[in-house]
Symmetry: D2
């Protein structure tokens, strides 16, 4: 009875959280003492979760400092990483220290735009063509419709993919410093109503999976989603040998046999060692959406022997991050953003650059560890 | 000076954590007060992280109760979800409530095995053939080598992929209730030494990316990794209409146009609405590796109209979860596992079944919301 | 001696062909009497082959007539199909006859452009950005360079893909009625020289595999290459039942379980039954490049139940065909093009439409045959 | 009238062919004189085509001789290539001549099996499990059923892929020297009837697209279909420089930037320069199914600098060829097979080895041409 009432409580106060948690404890016959130990104002989380009963605490460590020479991120940074995988922060730190010995990492955002691609039901290919034609002629109207739903979002393109009685339109938006997924969804729904009214198309779903959000999609590899970022570093020959206990040749060879050929034979999107580890750890620490690790981690890692030195670069086509909204509101996440000077406005590209350099460091460290043949050993000592 | 010392502190005590955090605060000029509020014994996290400075707190809510009829998970469950995405727990709860009205979800693990695939450098295709031949004739020897590295792991197969001077061997292991990645890595390194000694092959990397770990790979879609799980439910026609405000036809149509055709045209691994959201939330809550959301979320969602009722099923080929080791050791994560009766031994398959049902509920809810055209609205009310 | 001389003969006359063939007969100890029976002027093939010794004769049949309502192809057509697969022409003819009973097929070219994507070696990401900037500011110069290499080709876009020390530029060209691959290659080489001279970039390969030519690539699924064509037809309920011995429901179901879900689970580019059969047969008959069947056949087949009738449509994103140049010069191929009114100028889009309708008919026939469960039987009776 | 009768003529005699062609000439208002000049017995083509009106003549040239050291193909071979692409035979010949200077090519078939994967409709996941269980317990019964449909075919495995109410079973067969697709289809239909009778499963389609036939599928890259072949050669440093006017380094670099990184970024199945060209030319010449160029050409090309010499290898996972049945019956095709000693029994693996070496030579030649920067020039001189 009381238990049921607790489970059905929809409030956001600390008392509401306690009542729900107590009901869950009764229902499941388990003590949730540690879950109860959250240190933020539950009302503040009202836009982040429902049915809150407490918090999950993820150990937060740091990697670095690392010297970053980005268009937006400039200087020496200490990177917050929330993880439960032993050896990860140590490994990334090792990579960063080596990058510093080479003078730091260069990084740049090459493209920026959030997408949403509804699917419409049409009467067939001629109807698709009419709708495409109407959209092409009414971009200003659609842009004005978008502006009624958001102050920060701006429609930048509408790419059509007709397919029989299906028409997919991939809308791209500038979303300022928000990751922008919901802004794009709300704007797209308004745009779709307009399209429905003028063309007779029927919106079947505001997302037709050509967006594509939180799925491993070639369309994001090729067209990009969120920020498309490239980071690079040069590690002098002697640093490679002294610090990484490997040779430039062996690291280049490992990258070719493992990341390039191995990923091609297993038919993998991207070609990297473990980009997802770094992306997940920094996304969780900074309040990004951890489900977007799926597309955010589609990374191509490239190593070259340049006059004996090691050149390493990564391409990340789909870094979907924001510095306002979402999980960035929460206190520990906001502090992690503050640690890297990414809290608030005009910071999203800077964050994307920092994410990329963190991935670069992790790739460098793991590739050289594997080249030197002691990955398992590292885990035995530091991890599970 | 002092700051530098703090950053270089490698200890695990609360004092060590404080010294590091203080050094980071000085270095970055930011207060990390909320990050300092962790409620577990930092020594306990010694195998989960290095350079710990505190914790990230993720709001933890619940979805359910949901009635599960699994081979391992049986009964009514309340599912812990750690997330910062507004509307997610409410949406999953809605799906579960509807599933309950249909009598609950059926779920089953069809396959179970953790893989690691080293890449060897060989002298060419004849050498590859010799090595493959040697491995085929020495499986017992290799199994015994594995047993020297682990009590729980068991080598079950070795699938070779020769490619010129590259030879990839995809080793599969039973790993008990551990997710098993590190167990597989350590065992594989021992196996590789044996192969190197007997065949002259040179292990270039213990992971040749045909494993494939934390990358979106077709090989995991096709061969499976971790647990391959299928969950299904039938929602009676009237429940679909009354509870989901949609028709069976409209949900089936949405699934075809969005998940099946849209995913094919965007060249996506899997075909689903937002499996990654549910996988990430339950993985984080229960101490799984959030980087494995990448492969864990490669889900195929199928909807059918069966005599007017809605049949919905999902296939998840690569659910890499464990109930011992890793993040499951941490207090709030252990409590979340306890909530669903998945703490400790003989529980990994049960956890995989619960993960799948949670994804099933989320897919059902979102597909029907999109079919009913109010996805954006849900986010406007409940989310950012 | 003499034999060697024959093998080294580089001439194009009938006598040269005879000398070479005689030398090959001696070398291999085989009679090539049937290969000797070619009926065209070997000099005419001088741009199509070297070391000619005769001809391969492929049986040529026809499918149809079929009623086509295209933007370019209008009327009743008999389609030439060169094949050695028993049952294929009969099956396609059956599909066309059924399409006619529905009033014919609608078809339209939605996009047209041939691509070539060189890869440049650069000094790193800043150099990539400089080159991209230079190209953006010098499109007119590059267009004029293109015009020095071709009268028919026109540069329409240049899409950059930077990746560390690699820069891929996907150039798109209008190529008139030629398939345009060589035109694009030659133009791109000239453009690349210009880029090299002004930017210091080094062209490593005129094709960096983001073109992508004769490979199964997601980039062609998503961006299109050659002609992007959609064809559709509606088959009335009673026609489906009387002529196809199947129901609309069973064909729709077969398409979902086989083409949509099966193709997703096997991670296939496109979703179709056997598009490659039709594409290969018409490409060979009309002198197209049979290697381009690889990308030309990446087809998405969609079936719907529309008020009981069967709606079927196909999307072909990458139909790379021409009506001048290449194999179209050869007599039997030219006659096949003449059969469908596609010989010479202003005909390439018409040919693409006819290709698509031929694929539509083959998909319809095979899907309904499988729905009716007699695919094997058809092969047993008509072929092997 | 008469015309209609001609179009409806279903006979196979020369007179029937003439009547049909005459009817087509009338219908289309075109002369088909060259198409009429076929030199084989039309009755002989009765299992290869319907509605025959003549033949398409493809210029046939040769490449080689090439020294092959295969498990099945041993000695010096001249390779028949049917093509209309200028420069192709010359380019492949160049590659072969260079391979000879290195002592010839080594090649080996690593796996052999033809597949067919029906999709069944089931009642859900428990029914899937029951059917899988029944199949596992009745492999002998199913093998005996197969033997009632074929003398040469042998069932070797049955791999299940359950997915909700769908169950895909990937059956693999030994098919002797036939390519085996129809043999596998007919055998599978018989097997499916047995499964239907014993389990209540309903076969929706004998092909559920997990076979996968004539589609670019990851499942064939990973599991192989037909013959999985690897070929390799070593080209001494001085030969690379003198004969290919390139350096080992430049060819290795071209392969990395173009085939490995470029193919990964464009999300391509396989990683090669133009394997489809060689596969198409030799398939057409030898009476193979040109639609199977799609899967046959999924090639991974690997180049390495080994002590200054160039090591080049290719992996072809899915070479679906036969030396009996299909187009091999036709006279010019049979002669082309005879040219390489591949006519008749015990020759299919030999043919697969020859196909692979031909691809190896073409890859070597084109990569070095691109490395030396004169691809376009070659086409300008030799073709268009």
């Amino acid at each position: 009875m009381e238990e049921k009432r607790g489970l059905k409580n929809r409030g956001y106060s600390h008392a509401d959280v306690d009542e729900r948690r107590t009901a869950v404890e009764k229902f499941t016959g388990t003590s949730l003492e540690n879950i109860s130990k959250y240190c933020f104002d539950s009302e503040k989380a009202s836009k982040n979760i429902e049915n809150m009963i407490g918090a999950t605490q993820i150990p937060l460590g740091f990697a670095g400092p690392v010297i970053i020479n980005g268009d937006n991120a400039k200087g020496e940074f200490i990177i917050p990483l929330a993880t439960t995988e032993g050896a990860l922060t140590a490994s990334v730190s090792r990579g960063m220290s080596v990058i510093n010995d080479g003078g730091g990492a260069r990084v740049r955002v090459f493209q920026d735009g959030m997408t949403r691609a509804p699917v419409f039901r049409t009467n067939g290919l001629d109807h698709c063509a009419e709708i495409m034609d109407w959209i092409g002629k009414n971009t200003e109207l659609l842009s004005s419709v978008v502006s009624t739903t958001t102050n920060h979002g701006k429609l930048t393109s509408a790419e059509p993919f007709p397919a029989g009685r299906n028409l997919y339109i991939r809308f791209t938006y500038e979303t300022g410093d928000a990751m922008g997924m919901n802004m794009a969804t709300i704007a797209t729904e308004a745009v779709c109503k307009e399209i429905e009214n003028h063309t007779g198309a029927i919106m079947v779903s505001v997302s037709g999976n050509m967006c594509s959000d939180k799925k491993p999609s070639a369309i994001n590899m090729i067209r990009g989603r969120g920020k498309t970022v490239i980071a690079e570093a040069v590690i002098p020959k002697d640093v490679v040998e002294k610090r990484l206990h490997a040779s430039t040749e062996s690291i280049v060879e490992t990258n070719i046999r493992k990341n390039l050929i191995g990923s091609s034979m297993s038919v993998t999107l991207g070609a990297n060692a473990h980009a997802a580890n770094m992306v997940a750890a920094i996304y969780i620490a900074t309040g990004q959406d951890p489900a977007q690790v799926v597309s955010g981690s589609m990374t191509t890692t490239m190593c070259e022997n340049v006059d004996g030195d090691l050149y390493i670069a990564i391409r990340m086509p789909s870094v979907e991050v924001g510095t306002v909204g979402g999980g960035t509101r929460l206190p520990s996440q906001a502090e992690a953003l503050a640690m890297i000077g990414c809290l608030g406005d005009e910071k999203a590209k800077k964050l994307a650059e920092i994410v990329a350099v963190t991935v670069l460091a992790g790739e460098l460290s793991t590739l050289s560890a594997q080249a030197a043949g002691h990955l398992g050993k590292a885990h035995q000592e530091l991890g599970r």
